[in-house]
Symmetry: C2
Subunit: 83 residues, 2 copies
């Protein structure tokens, strides 16, 4: 079994209203000195068997097209386990 984590965050130049709301709430609730909060998505994907080159490539393509919107988001793909 293989395990992959895909993290998707808004690009730094894109306004993140959810993150801003959390930033204000953390400050009001007594966490001092918060300068920035960005909120993103995290996908934990499990696959049967090892990740060969063609599956890795397809996974990267789908991270870019299905999981993230590359116009406004950056993404990273981490292979946590490959067996």
């Amino acid at each position: 079994m293989s395990r992959v984590v895909v993290e998707v965050m808004l690009k730094p130049e894109i306004l993140d209203p959810q993150g801003r709301a959390v930033e204000g709430a953390l400050d009001r609730l007594g966490l001092v000195g918060v300068t920035s909060v960005r909120q993103g998505k995290r996908f934990e994907i499990e696959l049967a068997g090892p990740l060969d080159a063609s599956r890795r490539e397809r996974l990267n393509e789908l991270a870019e097209t299905l999981l993230a919107n590359p116009v406004i988001e950056n993404f990273t793909v981490h292979v946590v386990e490959d067996a």
Copy 2:
């Protein structure tokens, strides 16, 4: 500046309809052998100055009460940078 990442995922026993939808889409779009997808949230928090014990404690409390719903979600707090 300190940087902290909080990851929030639904507990394994809680149904994750977003994750299931992504699982179906990955399979239809040609990624073979996907057995599970779970979708969660990720917060990147930046704070001025170092994280002393009281700020760390407040951050953990707020992760549990504001960022996650501990009835249905698990969370992890990673200090990425502390200076």
